[in-house]
Amino acid sequence: MQIKPAIDPIEAVSAALPGALHSVVQYAGETTLVVEVAHLLKVVSYVRDTAGLIYNYLSDISAVDYYEPTGGIGNRPARFAVNYHIYSMLYNRRLRLKVYVDEGDDGSKPVVPSIVKVWPAGNWLEREASDMMGIVFEGNPDQRRLLMPDDWQGHPHRRDYPLGYETVQFSFNVEEIMKHKPFAKD
């Protein structure tokens, strides 16, 4: 069987899907295609199924929060980003797709379309990202929390979520602490 030689993912995607690429970042030998959210599903199907690309293996989905403790989000286009680390077993190379998403104006959670139909492995990875970073993956069949308890408030991996620790209880602060522990009182 004749295998089509590998083609450059940047050129291929920008030629086949005009308007889908926001920008391209090259760093330390890794290529990142920054994709517009609206075109994400088209891009993932394209890079998986096009001869010469065949990115058939989803390694990882990791969400990033660009919130700065000093305020603002630096020079990034939006506060949140979701990274898809994909791998082509045939051509033995990796690629990172990245989408930037922001919260809604009314403070609603950022929304990204789910890619489970393309790479089923993304199911739990998306659930983890939505649990930890508060990103809604539209179309994921299971929207429950994955790692945190079901009734947990907040999303721990956001940068404005404190690392957290338990205050040591002394007689001077026992009342303040007990306010947060309704069931510890008898």
Binding site: A28, S62, D65, G74, H85, A121, H157, L163, P182, D186
Partner: protein, 420 residues
Amino acid sequence: MTANSALENQATEWVGSLDDVKNLVTERALTGETMLLNMGPHHPSTHGVLRLLLELDGEEIITCLPDIGFLHTGIEKTIESKSYEKGVTCTDRMDYLAPMSNNAAFCMAVEKLVGLDVPERAQVMRVICLELTRIQSHLVWLGTHAIDLGAMSVFLYCFREREKILDLFEMISGQRMMGSYIRPGGVWRDFPKEFVPTVEAFLDDFPRRIDDYELLLTTNPLWLDRTQGIGVIEPDVALAWGFSGPSLRGSGVNWDIRKAMPYLGYENYQFDVPLGEHGDVYDRYLCRIHEMRECVKIIRQTLKRLPEAKGGFRSDNRKFTPPPRSELGHSMEAVIHHFKLWTEGFNAPDQEVYVAIESPRGEIGCYLHGTGGNKPRRVHFKTPSFMHIQGIPLMSENHMIADLVAIIGSVDIVLGDCDR
């Protein structure tokens, strides 16, 4: 409110959890025709704290819903608050059976992010540690897998050999398990004199021990009955669901990151990648057994390379690695570097990298995003156990509960690795 009345209140307000899983189990569970049963989180064969919600028709599994997160300790979040060198200690605690692999994945990500070179000798030393880790992780897997299926003596034999490797780790790092021996730029310190002879003695002894395990299991009719044809997963399904490592190779997919994208000079060593054929529990077992033999081959080659490998055990770039203590007495530069590194650490650019290596369980990937400062913005680990637990329902449907124990054991999960 008293504790008792609070409980009573909860009991009356509780509306039942069946609604939560309504779309995830079949209709028959809602009518009571099939039974919903919890397996775990406290169950000896779940290898940690894994809860499986099973829908059963008699003893047959209709659906299996894994529930994870009981061992979630926020390690990624913790690393975000530490400098890069201190973050290494956190990675030990994720996959506690293969701490060196986690160290290596994290350190290689840091090195890639800041552009730090690792001397050849340090790379060889890392390979020795990684392969010893692979052997000891596989030994725990074999022991627990066998004891799950009723073979008690294999468990004891495996732990006997594992102790020797843990002693070796104690020799080099002072710690049996969580050594944090691999650091950005190389390893913590040079091997002590007695290390290499001890490893050689272990390697001389070990292949015979593997023969012993095989004698007990490989052709044992009880073992064959329990493992052959159980938990079959097709190669394309395994790939689509993100399997990696021996669990993927058991299905016959030849993908080993050590071969495909060599790191730490793995391209210099001669070794084979054992492949399975049927994708069942037995083939995954064979893959790991053969992998241990390959590890012995690799370590022998590394020991030959070690004396002639160039460079020290750690990079000399003092912006990233601390100077040896002997320099602190007479060099002002060394004192400055020492102070800077231990108070503040080094800075990494506001960029992102993804590094994946072959851990004993499969692909462990470290996504690292710097801020330009001395702490990472985001660390995310792609861990093999996470993906394999996701795949357990695929393998276990229409099997008996007893087979589920074999399936869980065969994908070699560690819950610390999964939940992080």
